[in-house]
């Protein structure tokens, strides 16, 4: 885990490199993409690497950097206690033995079913595509995974400040996030606004 100081420096660099784009205003589709990306990040099982296999990325769909960015690792109010870097890191001595590749070789289990072999494993998107295909042949009125999804609400949404979480009335002109006060808008601009867009 990098130190906050380093993180700050990296942030600043990013700011500098993206000054040209910081004046742009996100259009509706960019905002929608940003929301979608955020919602996808809420499906993640982990936001860090497998501690036993430091070099391999386990989930191929995982784009660590982007997730980390979109969720923003920066504490808005800069509470001092988070400046220790990774919080909750106990002082318990970790076994710093570098696990050699040979000894760390994962136990291979032999199954007779293809699904147990990684290359035959289908991810959910593949399965859903197949399902859509097979349902396309069936009658249209049959219910399936896709058709039972809840309809949009007909009530207006409750608007919560993206910074403090209280009710908010204002929308950031640039990115569309919500804020409740000038104070929160300032924090938003310093921490999130446009910094984590695609």
């Amino acid at each position: 885990m990098e130190q906050p100081q380093q993180r700050l420096t990296r942030q600043t660099k990013e700011n500098l490199s993206s000054t040209s784009s910081s004046s742009r205003i996100l259009d509706a589709s960019a905002r929608a993409r940003r929301t979608q990306k955020f919602l996808e990040s809420l499906e993640q099982d982990n936001f860090h690497d497998d501690p036993t296999e430091p070099s391999s990325s386990f989930d191929p769909t995982l784009t660590q950097e982007q997730i980390a960015k979109s969720l923003s690792n920066i504490s808005a109010f800069g509470y001092s206690r988070h400046s220790k870097g990774l919080i909750l890191e106990s002082d318990e001595p970790t076994t710093t033995t570098t696990t050699s590749n040979s000894s760390n070789k994962r136990r291979k289990i032999q199954f007779k079913y293809d699904v147990f072999k990684t290359r035959f494993r289908k991810n959910l998107q593949t399965l859903l595509d197949e399902e859509l295909g097979s349902n396309g042949e069936k009658s249209n009125d049959e219910k399936n995974y896709f058709t039972i999804v809840a309809k949009p609400s007909k009530y207006p949404s409750i608007k919560l400040c993206s910074v403090c979480g209280f009710l908010s009335q204002y929308t950031c002109q640039i990115c569309g996030n919500l804020y409740c006060s000038l104070k929160c808008l300032d924090i938003h601009k310093d921490t999130r606004c446009l910094k984590f867009t695609v």
Binding site: L88, L124, Y155
Partner: protein, 407 residues
């Protein structure tokens, strides 16, 4: 045939709930494999994490399910092997749940694995809502039930008539416990402490202190009050797994003392080491997502409105019977006020002369499991399951036929 013991598993994306139908002991274990940086040489399968990994910091999760559907069979098999232990499947049947609208590939793979790999004496798979409906209709002597199953991956609304799904009224809301925990991690990380890697700890926090608001505007007002008068704000001490084994709410005597944490820290040297998060609006804005997914940008109606939409899809004469037989299952129903909020919101939407009766079972998490046990002990279970002999004769086609026609 039906006198054989049956092992019943409600195979959730988060927790596996199981029970032998001949005993009273149920087993609830995480349906996943976990890794800890403190033990880099091993993995923890299911509840090994409770017994063999005292430090739950930064656990790395490998879940067999993705968005509620089984996709990683390798991980799942390891948990199943661990769970099944020495169960003699030659003489034991298996009833296992599958998600609503399970995908055909997953169904067929399950059928094959259990008959050919585990060689179970008999097998049946139904979704948890179907099992719950079976139990409810029996207990309440009702022909109708509207099952709400709000779990880890999503929330389903499934109306039943005499044990059969009324497909026109089925709805899925893509909000479940996992999303709530991740959103809570995200807001705490942004506002206070970086906890993105602390799924275990923040999930525990969520279960300990979050609640469903009964009056959102009013609760917002209360949360705005200064700390000395604010009964909503709580300081929650995160576990460090050295001295603090479990997260807890700092006693009100210290937290309401002008909120002066520094003062109390003099008495206790370890206070400085403590990681504290102050939970205020988050306590009720997180569960609020179940009722208003639009808060975080999901363009779907919440639970109450979706129930209304579901029931409105069905013939008018059966609507009162459905509103009068709502059953709550799944872990999210355990948030305080969940049932009351649902009732209030439904009341404001539907006709005054429609009665509303909502049942929150004593344990909404194990309701489907116990319902499954009831089903296996019924005299006509033979019609619900496929025996090894039937499978050998007809193959997967008989599974498809029996499990979709029934009940």
């Amino acid at each position: 045939m039906t006198t054989k013991p049956i092992f019943v598993v409600d195979n959730g994306a988060y927790m596996s709930k199981s029970k032998m139908n001949t005993t009273d002991k149920s087993k609830i274990i995480p349906n996943c494999i976990m890794k800890s940086k403190f033990y880099p040489r091993r993995t923890f399968i299911a509840d090994q994490i409770d017994n063999e990994c005292p430090n739950k910091t930064s656990l790395y999760y490998q879940l067999p399910f993705q968005k509620g559907y089984l996709v990683d069979w390798n991980i799942q098999k390891q948990v199943w092997d661990y769970l099944f232990g020495k169960i003699p499947f030659k003489t034991t049947g298996l009833l296992m749940t599958e998600p609503c609208m399970n995908l055909n590939f997953i169904r067929e793979t399950m059928d094959q694995i259990f008959f050919e790999e585990y060689e179970v004496a008999s097998f049946a798979r139904y979704d948890p809502a179907t099992l719950s409906a079976y139990q409810y209709e029996q207990d309440m002597k009702s022909n109708y039930v509207l099952v709400i199953d709000s779990g880890f991956s999503f929330t389903h609304i499934v109306p039943f008539y005499q044990g059969r799904k009324l497909f026109d009224g089925m709805t899925r809301i893509d909000v479940g416990g996992k999303l709530l925990t991740n959103q809570l991690k995200s807001v705490i990380s942004y506002r206070q402490l970086v906890v993105m890697n602390e799924t275990y700890i923040i999930n525990e926090l969520k279960e300990n202190i979050c609640y469903v608001s009964l009056d959102f505007q009013e609760d917002m007002k209360k949360a705005r009050l200064p700390l000395s008068e604010n009964s909503n704000s709580l300081d929650y001490i995160l576990p460090d797994y050295n001295e603090i084994k479990q997260g807890y709410v700092q006693s009100s005597s210290t937290s309401t003392f002008n909120g002066n944490i520094a003062d109390s820290s003099k008495k206790n040297l370890t206070k400085q080491q403590q990681q504290i998060v102050r939970m205020n609006v988050e306590r009720f804005t997180i569960p609020e997502i179940l009722f208003r997914p639009s808060i975080i940008g999901i363009d779907q109606a919440g639970i109450a409105e979706s129930i209304y939409n579901s029931v409105e899809q069905l013939p008018e004469h059966i609507r009162p019977s459905l509103y009068n037989n709502i059953l709550l299952t799944g872990g999210n129903c355990l948030f305080p006020n969940f049932k009351e909020r649902l009732e209030n919101e439904l009341r404001s939407m539907i006709k005054d002369d429609y009665p509303i009766r909502i049942t929150l079972p004593e344990n909404p998490i194990t309701y489907a499991l116990n319902a499954g046990v009831t089903l296996t002990n019924s005299s006509d279970y033979i019609n619900y399951c496929v025996t090894k002999r039937e499978y050998d004769e007809h193959g997967v086609s008989i599974c498809h036929r029996k499990f979709t026609d029934n009940p």
